[in-house]
């Protein structure tokens, strides 16, 4: 059996010094990625999913290049690229022209990433519908046991819980007000586990431009990028071990 973690104390040097995310597959389940955006630098694969009652499971899947309908997926991809410049980005577009069937399409997108064993999946979206509690819980467990890290933006401003960020097996992330893209905090009070930059950050957007924006949905891709970096140097790590490393190396744990 491989040694679980570092021989000595966990350090950032050990974790990701010199790492680039090379060889690590990172999926962005969102509104699509504008692959031509200068901050994105291309994607390795793209699939667009839409609700279609004619299909057996109600979801139509179209592989091949697509555009970002909103700009948000491109923003997430740009952040991940900045933190892990050589990772392989995969765009899984699940947000489309109408809301009908969103839960089913969202779940199908997540399943697509898990089946392909993409090591990191950025989920800057959620559902608060109780109907989907069980389905997403099952998918989150499958991901965890398959070594797939689900990085979820927490909708911690709403009164009701949202899924899948609520589950213990995922990396749930909220925004903190610092700008260092490699800085992150560990939050000892669940369900939010991690804090990362997400306030007044400049991100890529639709049409090759940028916007200055705030939201937990921009904090999650910072953590997704960091995990990709870590995995490019230490590909054997499981979600449990990655959480251990992030806990040990958090800004507030080291201070």
């Amino acid at each position: 059996m491989r040694p679980l973690l570092a021989e000595g104390a966990l350090t950032r040097e050990w974790a990701w010094a010199g790492a680039t995310g090379s060889g690590v597959d990172v999926a962005v389940v969102d509104s699509g990625i504008d692959a031509g955006h200068p901050m994105v630098g291309g994607v390795s694969s793209a699939v667009a999913m839409t609700y279609d009652p004619e299909e057996g499971d109600g979801v139509r899947r179209v592989e091949g290049p697509h555009e970002d309908l909103f700009g948000h997926g491109t923003a997430c991809a740009g952040i991940i690229r900045r933190v892990a410049p050589e990772c392989r980005l995969h765009s899984i577009r699940v947000l489309g022209e109408r809301l009908t069937g969103k839960g089913a399409v969202f779940a199908a997108g997540l399943e697509w990433a898990i089946e392909r064993r993409y090591r990191v999946v950025n989920l800057s979206l959620s559902t608060g519908k109780d109907d989907y509690f069980g389905l997403f819980h099952e998918l989150a467990d499958r991901a965890y046991f398959a070594g797939v890290m689900l990085v979820c933006a927490v909708n911690n401003v709403a009164a009701a819980p949202s899924y899948p960020s609520q589950y213990a097996s995922v990396f749930s992330v909220a925004a903190h007000d610092r700008q260092d893209p490699f800085g992150f905090d560990y939050n000892p009070e669940p369900p939010v586990e991690l804090g990362a930059p997400g306030i007044d950050v400049t991100v890529a957007w639709k049409g090759e431009g940028t916007i200055v924006t705030t939201g937990n949905s921009f904090a999650a891709p910072h953590v997704a990028g960091l995990i990709a970096r870590l995995l490019s140097k230490h590909p054997q790590l499981t979600p449990f071990q990655v959480k251990t490393v992030l806990h040990a190396l958090a800004d507030n744990a080291r201070a």
């Binding site: 909103f70 009908t100 049409g207 431009g209 916007i211 937990n216």
Partner: protein
Amino acid sequence: MSEPAGDVLRDLARLLTSMGPALAPEGSEALLQSITEAARELFGAQACSLALLTDDQSELVFTTASGAGASDVLDLRMPVGQGIAGWVVMSEQPISVSDLQRDARFASDVAQSTGYVPRTILAVPVTSPRRTLGVIEVLDRDITRAGAEHDMRLLSLFADQAALAIENARAFADLGRTVLGAVANAAPGTPLAAALSAAAEGAGGADRDLLRLSALLGELDRLGPAERRLTSSLVEALLSYVRGRGRRPS
């Protein structure tokens, strides 16, 4: 009017009377208006507006607005598949964007949804545990005032209030349909039942299982107190069993 139909009408009157407190649609609209006005005042903002999803979930319609551009934005429709408001509704994630005017393409996108071009926008989803309802937006709030860093959380509290008001209003509408259908079921074969059924069908949207349950409650009402007590115990036992099975979708 025939005797059975007269009974049905009496039942209907009794049911509607007992549902009186729910009959307040104007109150809901006034409440939503006051929510957008309170939010605008609290945030020192130029405008605050609420957009709700259409029944086919393909568009957002601005139903309530206060402040700058309010009259222009009311009843404005926009596809849910674009723009900041669309993304917020789709992803169920709040977002705030500053410096909107820097990018002309972006500004036109926002202007289309707001009636004027703001510098900043804060938008949070309006949702209930059962469904996504829409989005509430605040334009050009005063970010220099004390506590402005909590604006996203504050606006979400307003969104929760709006969601309650909207769901209450919709429950009233659904209840009306349920009542019509239930009364029709309670007096099968009468001309009035046919008319009520047609009305209930035309209204659409109500859950068929609920219609049936409602009809059963009508029958129960005509039985004695002992039967009603027995049924209550049975339903309570069933509910506690169903709750114990967890929350997986059926």
